[in-house]
Amino acid sequence: MSSPSVVDPRPGAAPDQTWDPASIRGDFPMLERTIRGRPIAYLDNAATALKPRSVIDEVVRYYQDVTANVARGVHTASQEATERFETVRHQVGMFLGSRPADEVVFTSGTTGAINLVAQSYGRAVLRPGDEVLVTEMEHHSNLVPWQLVAEQTGARVRAIPITGSGEVDLGWLERNRSDRTKIVAVCHVSNVLGTVVPVARVAALAHEMGAVCVVDGAQGVPHLRVDVGALGCDFYAFSAHKLFGPTGLGVLWGRQPLFERMPPWQGGGGMIARVEIEKSSFAPPPARFEAGTPPIAEVFGLGAVLDYLAALDRRAFEHEDRVVRYAEELLRAIPGVILHGAAPGRVGLVTFSVEGVHPHDVGTALDAGGVAVRAGHHCAQPLMARLGVTATVRASFAPYNTRREAEALAEGVEQAKRVFGQ
């Protein structure tokens, strides 16, 4: 098992001191593969991130050495699995800013987590005429669940507009919030523009109206240190697979007093107190919200992710930032490339269009050079409409990405332009 290189910055070292991604690239087996005969330049991290060896090993460990269901058996393997499972719950609490473990619910993903809040909290509190505010740049996973519960309850979904640079229009929020505002659901980081939403401000504005603030942190946790206490939000959701972890697992963090009052969403094993044919009573949170056998191997893997991140040199993220800025510079220098999003402090990605070349064709041209990006609407059709496009190209980064990969990206774009004779 390889482990991340931990280099203590020397006292007084300059903050932009070089950190070499080569020190961790060996941890990620997927970086060894080739695409059409070339080394892969994986710039689709916002879709799903690559997994370090230690995470894969921990998933394997569950399947090889600790296979058992959790919270159900008196036998040793079940007990070991349960202990590990609950330890990771605790770790997740710490990761989100030292929160008690019973505020951590394991779900099937960010999408599952937001549907849970919508169907349990939302359905219980929303009345006809109430409003759920989202932003114009939400991922469908933080929009459609609210549309569904709005339809069920007679509430309405409205979008906080974004400014030309891709920032949330807080003035609009201040003017348009009212006592009908019950839920304000925003992303922490936009998966298209990289904008960091000022969650603390949004949450404060929501709370003044008695509304709760739900944060889609799918793109937050991979790039920012998250402290839900400091953010002041009420719910925070993320996916393990975008945080270098396994597929099939998400986290919903929620404030205990809210969880306590929320009805269950799904019914099944593990979430009950007492069951009779005609009625049942339910377990306290977090169990109340975890019906059925949970994603156990996946939780093991997430534990290894958190260990990996804890040991990772924080300069890795400064390096990531620099590579993103470098990619941006290179692309900006190419005539006909239009960059989307210009919010100060944006993180993790560059989204762009190439004049006269469809994003899919750019994507294919890049793929032919081994560069993996995402071309499409990024599950953010309302934002595409706002930007006046149907699709864009997005290159998204992680600490293991290199300046060389940013260059391969720019070369691929040049190549696409050449093919299309622009």
Binding site: R36, V357, H358, P359, H360, D361, T364, A365, D367, A368, A375, G376, H377, Q381, M384, T390, A391, Q415, V419, F420, G421
Partner: protein, 158 residues
């Protein structure tokens, strides 16, 4: 020729730049919309079918080079063909872009002859995800032809 150049042959680039029959038919007996859920690209296809023969066809829409050129080339090649010939052509085209082309020498030759300029899309099979792009307009066409076949004027349908 690189895989990329193979995919984007000059014929394709030409049709992409200057799509043929890129308009709505003033009168049509069939119409359908095709949508690529991957990218949100949409094409509208109109056909005029008379006595089982496609007498006119056109399209409009937004899309990538592959989907646009494929739509354009489709319109040029099917005009004057019978509906069943069009079906057969689509089958062959589909086989080619999905890399399931015939392997026997004579069948291969026959397929090449039948496909004509559509052979330019052979490179798509190296990029399976783009198959949807190459067949988007074709699927819409087949829907349009089916609605046309029932004899109702196109306007009476959604």
């Amino acid at each position: 020729m690189s895989e990329l150049d193979e995919l984007y042959q000059s014929l394709i680039l030409d049709h992409n730049r200057a799509p043929r029959n890129f308009r709505e038919l003033p009168t049509s007996s069939g119409h359908a919309e095709g949508r690529n859920p991957l990218c949100g690209d949409t094409f509208n296809v109109w056909v005029q079918v008379k006595d089982g023969v496609v007498t006119d066809v056109s399209f409009l829409g937004q899309g990538c080079a592959i989907s646009k050129a494929s739509a354009s080339m489709m319109t040029t090649i099917i005009k004057g063909k019978t509906v069943s010939e069009v079906r057969g052509l689509f089958d062959r085209f589909h086989q080619m872009v999905t890399g399931r082309a015939p392997t026997a020498e004579d069948e291969k030759k026959e397929a090449r002859n039948a496909l004509g300029c559509l052979s330019a899309f052979a490179g798509v099979s190296a990029f399976p995800i783009r198959v949807k792009c190459a067949t988007l307009a074709w699927h819409a066409l087949m829907k349009a032809v089916e609605t046309a076949a029932d004899g109702m004027p196109a306007d009476a349908r959604s």
